[in-house]
Structure formats: structure tokens, C-alpha cells
């Protein structure tokens, strides 16, 4: 039995002739934050959807807590504790914090047939949970629309954790946020990991990823360029790998040669 919470081994995904993913391998331990980096079109979305159970991988295996698993849809992944927070966050801005927090999973009370939504309990839990991450929801019955982007992101993450996530997949959680908001969200992600969650943080922003990540996987044109522990790689190296740095290096050499030839 390995000590990895979740392993994705040699995952490939094809759409017709298009190879969307090829031989991508990722392993996460409890409490680890792995950053998945890649430029636009690198295959990040396909990989997330495969991890989340939306797509079935065509090759490779997914091992959750030592057990070889095939996800038969997103609900399967969710039941195994793999929760994905997409960019749209699945929050309804006209609804209150509490109603959003428990959307689809409302606590009930009362006799059968007349079960009611236990709003007091829900309010209490929502306020408590948000309080734990340092967000003082001034009133849990306020509309989510009145919250800031960072607070909304934290609400969506907090909701996923409350409902039993072990592995948290976060799709660009900081991309729409300002510097301060982003740091609030990143701080929360670190805190969640320190409490034993495995986090896959998908981003194209190395500056957000580097301070919080334990390991980094760079994706380029559907292939993994490798996974590096933080001590083995610098921010600059990551950045140049993501941007297809080698191609740029080659380009530079060619330009120099052209210059030399013309003089």
C-alpha cells in the first residue's frame, strides 16, 4: 500500500484523432499541494475534467487510496472525496451565503413529509465555517452577490471541504482576483492542505503557484514536461518551461546566427 492519497498513472485522452492528453502522471500525498501549470491549450481543462470524472481516460489508471478506480461520472468522483471547484464556482449570486453553502445538500428537520430546511443550523454552520477561514460573513442571509471575488472563491472551497472532500481540484482559483484577494485565497488553500487535504491547483500564474506549491507539474501540448519538487526547480525555470522556453531559446540562437550571417 502506497502512501499516496491519489495517483493518476499514464493518463491519456483522445478526442477522435486529437491527442488531448498523453501519458500524464501525477501523484499526491495527504497535505500536498501540487500545482498544475500550463499555458492556454496545454490540456489543463481536459485533465481537470478527467480527474473530476467528467471524461473517462482512454489509457492509464486512477488509484484512490490504493484502490484502482474508474469514475463513472462526476458524482462517482465526488463520492470518493474528489471535489472540483470550477471557475464558475457554482454559486448563485442572488441567493444567501447559507442557501448557497447548502445548495442541493440542505440539512433537514421535522417529521417525514413535512421536513423543513433547518435554516438556523445551516446559518450557524455557514457562519462558523466562513469564520474559520477568517471571512466574517457579516450576515449569513446576505446575498452572495454582495461578497468579493476572493470571498466567493473561499466559500466554494469551504463548501467542498465541509461536504467531505479529500482531494480538492481548484480550477484557476486566483485568475480573476486582485493581488490582495488572491493572497487570501492562497492562504486558505495552504491552510486546507495543512489539515490533510491533497490539493491540485490549476493555474497559469507561476507567481501564485510557486509560493504555495510543494510540487509542480508542467503541461505542454497534452504532455507532462515532468513533475518537480519545489527544491529542484526555480520560479524562473518553471516560467520558461511553461512559456515553451526552449523554443524561445532556439529562436534566439537562430536569430543570432542570422545576424552573424548578414554581417
Amino acid at each position: 500500500m502506497s502512501d499516496y492519497l491519489i495517483q493518476f498513472n499514464n493518463i491519456s485522452k483522445f478526442f477522435g484523432k486529437v491527442i488531448a492528453l498523453k501519458d500524464v502522471t501525477m501523484k499526491l500525498k495527504k497535505g500536498e499541494i501540487m500545482c498544475l501549470l500550463g499555458d492556454n491549450g496545454a490540456g489543463k481543462s481536459t485533465l481537470i475534467k478527467t480527474l473530476a470524472g467528467v471524461h473517462k481516460p482512454d489509457e492509464g489508471e486512477i488509484i484512490v487510496e490504493g484502490k484502482n478506480t474508474i469514475f463513472d461520472g462526476p458524482k462517482d468522483a465526488l463520492d470518493m472525496g474528489i471535489a472540483t471547484v470550477y471557475q464558475d464556482l457554482a454559486l448563485v449570486s442572488l441567493m444567501s451565503v447559507t442557501r448557497n453553502f447548502f445548495m442541493g445538500r440542505e440539512p433537514l428537520k421535522g417529521p417525514p413529509l413535512f421536513k423543513t430546511f433547518d435554516i438556523e443550523k445551516a446559518n450557524k454552520i455557514a457562519a462558523e465555517r466562513m469564520g474559520q477561514i477568517g471571512i466574517d460573513v457579516r450576515d449569513p442571509s446576505q446575498a452572495v452577490g454582495t461578497m468579493s471575488g476572493g470571498e466567493r472563491q473561499c466559500l466554494a472551497i469551504s463548501r467542498a471541504i465541509y461536504f467531505g472532500a479529500k482531494v480538492l481540484i481548484l480550477d484557476e482559483p486566483t485568475s480573476a482576483l486582485g493581488v490582495h484577494q488572491a493572497s487570501v485565497v492562497l492562504k486558505y488553500i495552504v491552510k486546507a492542505a495543512s489539515e490533510g487535504l491533497a490539493v491540485i491547483l490549476i493555474t497559469h500564474n507561476v507567481h501564485h503557484a510557486y509560493p504555495v506549491g510543494n510540487s509542480f507539474t508542467v503541461l505542454n501540448r497534452g504532455k507532462s514536461l515532468g513533475t518537480y519538487a519545489k527544491k529542484d526547480i526555480t520560479r524562473e525555470k518553471l516560467l520558461s518551461m511553461m512559456a515553451g522556453g526552449e523554443e524561445l531559446d532556439k529562436l534566439e540562437v537562430e536569430l543570432q546566427e542570422m545576424n552573424r550571417a548578414s554581417t
Binding site: 458524482k75 470550477y86 464558475d88 464556482l89 457554482a90 454559486l91 448563485v92 449570486s93 442572488l94 441567493m95 442557501r99 447548502f102 445548495m103 442541493g104 445538500r105 440542505e106 433537514l108 421536513k115 423543513t116 430546511f117 435554516i119 466574517d136 457579516r138 450576515d139 446575498a143 452577490g145 454582495t146 461578497m147 468579493s148 463548501r159
Partner: protein, 375 residues
């Protein structure tokens, strides 16, 4: 801003979040969707109190009159409001009223069914029509506006064609004699609290007929149904899990789906709700009039939607209230009857209805921006 600095000065509140402005009860009330309709209803009553206060509009008889009209509209407006909160429209409400009417009358008069069986038949048809509307909208992803507009024509046409085919005419009279001793019809056809009116009459507190019985005989069934609908709808919306799902489905279909809300089922349920409410409306009216008319309910869908909008429902879904729709219906019912007691030509009613709706939409739009925008 002044409230903010005050709360910081106040030592007792220093432990609270300094960014929490003291929200007065009034401010909280202002954020409720039904506020506009409540205010409108009060204004309408003040207006008629001044203009028509001495005309008998506010006698027991006059009040029951406009309450009856409001209640009938309210029954369908509440169902329409719930559907709108769930993010959809039903334009087939009016046609469903006509259809339900003949579903009761033809079996009862021409096929010799007992009245209760015809009523159950009409409600079964309503569930089918609602289910069909719902499944069509959910499965095709087409706007409910178009799907139910098609149903508006289909149902009205079928009602006319079938009635003429079976009966050779467009009206089916003769139901009144069947109501007596029917085990089900009384639910839709009995005036209640008669003893109150008899007592009020005996005390000479309300107007009497020449034979000494009170002019207003009891609370009409529509009012009881209206109150029942308002309570049940509000309970569902505010207190149950299903209510949360309705708001979620209307607010953000995809988001709701992603967290496990069965959006499709919720919407189908709401479409069945409007069809059933239309049938309650139809049953009450058919039994009251003693006849079914194929044109009954024409344009009622628009009045119901107007009342829901005045009651604070957003056209985009996810926001609104059943109580608001009830007040919206009360405003329209009161004005449509009250206008007879004034010197104003009744032709102006539609102008009022339109203007009222326009003001409501502008007001709702403002509220929505306030609710959704960041602080």
C-alpha cells in the same frame, strides 16, 4: 457612513465587525422582494378610500367582490411566481383554464360522469399538460416562452375544436344542478363563515336584502384557496429544501446542477404547479357560473405574470416571493373592481395595469442590481 462611525463610537459594538452597518428593521424589509407590492397595495387602498370611500366599495359586499376577483387571479399568480423564480414562464395558463373547464363540463354533462370524477379527470389532465410543458422545456433546452406559447394555441384550439365536435357549441351549461350532494365539488363551491355574516347582519352591521338576509353571504371559495396557496407556496419557498432548489434552479441552472440540484425535476414540478393552479381557478369559476366556456381564461396568463412581476419576481428568475404575487393580484383585483365605484371610465384599467407593471419592472431591476453588486 454616519451609521458606521456611530457604531464604532459605541463601545458595546466594538467587538462586532466594524464593517457591519447597523441594519434597521426597515432596511431589512426594503430588501424583501414583496415590499413593492405591499406598498402598492397600501397606496391603492388609500386611493380608493379617498375616491370611493362612501360608495359601498368598502361595505362587506363590495369588499368580498374585489377580494373574489383578486383571489382568483392570485391563485394563478402565485403558481406563476413560483415558476418564474424557478426561471421559466408559462404562457399556457389562460388556455389551461379554458381546457380544464371543458374537461369538467363535457364528461359531467354529455358522458354522464359524476361531477367529482370529472373534476379529478380535469386535474389529471392538468398534471399531464404541466408535465408535457416541463419535459419539453427541460429536454429541448428551448425557452419556455416559446414552448408554452405554442401550448397556448394548441390548448385553446383543442378546447374549441373538441367542444364544438362533441357538443356542437362553444359553451357547456347545466352544471349547477350537479353540485349538490357531490362529494368533491363543495371544496370549490362553498361559501364559508356564513355564520359571521348572519351575525353581522343580525347586528345590523352590514347591508341586508329586503328579506332580512345579509347581502354578503360568506367568504367565497376562491379566497380560501387563495390564502391556502399563499401559505403553502411561501412555506415551500422559505422553509423547505425544494424551495432552495427552486431559487437555485432559477438563479443559476448550471451551478445548481453542478452541486446536485435536480434542476429538471424542479422545473417540471413547477410547470405542473401552474397547470394545477389553472385548474383550481377553472373549477371554482365553472362551478360558480354553472357553465364552461371555451374562451374562459383568455389573457389570464399575462395578468398572472404581471401580478408576479409587480410582486417582485425577476423575469430572469431566482428572485421573488409568493406573498408578493398575492399582493400583486390584490392590487389588480382591487383596481379592476374599484374603478366601477369611481367616475373613472373602466377603459382606463388596462392603462393602469400596464403602467403598474412598468414601474414594478424598473423597481425590481434596481433591487436586483443592489442585491448582486459588490459592496
Amino acid at each position: 457612513m454616519s451609521t458606521k462611525s456611530k457604531s464604532i463610537e459605541n463601545k458595546k459594538e466594538i467587538n462586532q465587525d466594524e464593517r457591519l452597518q447597523r441594519v434597521s428593521k426597515l432596511r431589512l424589509l426594503l430588501n424583501r422582494p414583496e415590499l413593492g407590492a405591499l406598498g402598492g397595495a397600501i397606496l391603492v387602498f388609500i386611493f380608493f378610500g379617498i375616491v370611493a370611500g362612501d360608495t359601498g366599495m368598502f361595505s362587506a359586499y363590495g369588499m368580498l367582490n374585489f377580494l373574489d376577483v383578486s383571489a382568483n387571479l392570485g391563485i394563478i399568480a402565485i403558481a406563476a411566481a413560483m415558476l418564474m423564480i424557478g426561471g421559466e414562464f408559462d404562457l399556457s395558463i389562460g388556455s389551461m383554464i379554458g381546457f380544464a373547464g371543458i374537461c369538467i363540463a363535457i364528461p359531467a354533462i354529455y358522458w354522464g360522469w359524476p361531477l367529482w370524477m370529472s373534476i379529478i379527470f380535469a386535474f389529471s389532465m392538468a398534471v399531464l399538460v404541466g408535465y408535457f410543458n416541463g419535459i419539453l422545456v427541460v429536454k429541448t433546452g428551448l425557452p419556455s416562452f416559446i414552448v408554452t406559447l405554442a401550448m397556448l394555441f394548441i390548448l385553446r384550439g383543442a378546447t374549441l375544436a373538441l367542444t364544438r365536435l362533441i357538443t356542437g357549441r362553444t359553451q357547456v351549461p347545466g352544471l349547477r344542478v350537479l353540485i349538490e350532494n357531490d362529494p368533491l365539488a363543495w371544496i370549490f363551491a362553498t361559501d364559508t363563515f356564513k355564520w359571521v355574516f348572519t351575525w353581522l347582519g343580525s347586528m345590523n352591521l352590514i347591508d341586508l336584502r329586503t328579506d332580512g338576509t345579509p347581502l354578503a353571504t360568506g367568504i367565497p371559495p376562491s379566497v380560501i384557496w387563495f390564502i391556502f396557496f399563499a401559505i403553502v407556496a411561501t412555506w415551500i419557498l422559505m422553509k423547505t429544501r425544494y424551495g432552495n432548489w427552486i431559487f437555485a434552479s432559477g438563479g443559476d441552472k448550471n451551478g445548481a446542477n453542478n452541486v446536485g440540484v435536480p434542476v429538471g425535476k424542479v422545473k417540471i414540478g413547477l410547470f405542473i404547479g401552474t397547470a394545477v393552479a389553472s385548474t383550481v381557478f377553472a373549477t371554482i369559476q365553472v362551478l360558480d357560473a354553472g357553465s364552461a366556456d371555451t374562451m374562459r381564461g383568455t389573457l389570464k396568463e399575462l395578468e398572472a405574470i404581471a401580478a408576479a412581476v409587480v410582486g417582485g419576481c425577476l423575469l430572469t428568475g431566482g428572485y421573488g416571493s409568493a406573498i408578493g404575487a398575492a399582493f400583486g393580484a390584490l392590487i389588480f383585483g382591487t383596481v379592476s373592481m374599484g374603478i366601477f365605484y369611481t367616475d373613472i371610465d373602466t377603459d382606463w384599467f388596462k392603462v393602469f395595469l400596464g403602467a403598474m407593471m412598468l414601474i414594478a419592472v424598473i423597481f425590481n431591476n434596481y433591487i436586483r442590481r443592489k442585491v448582486t453588486e459588490s459592496k
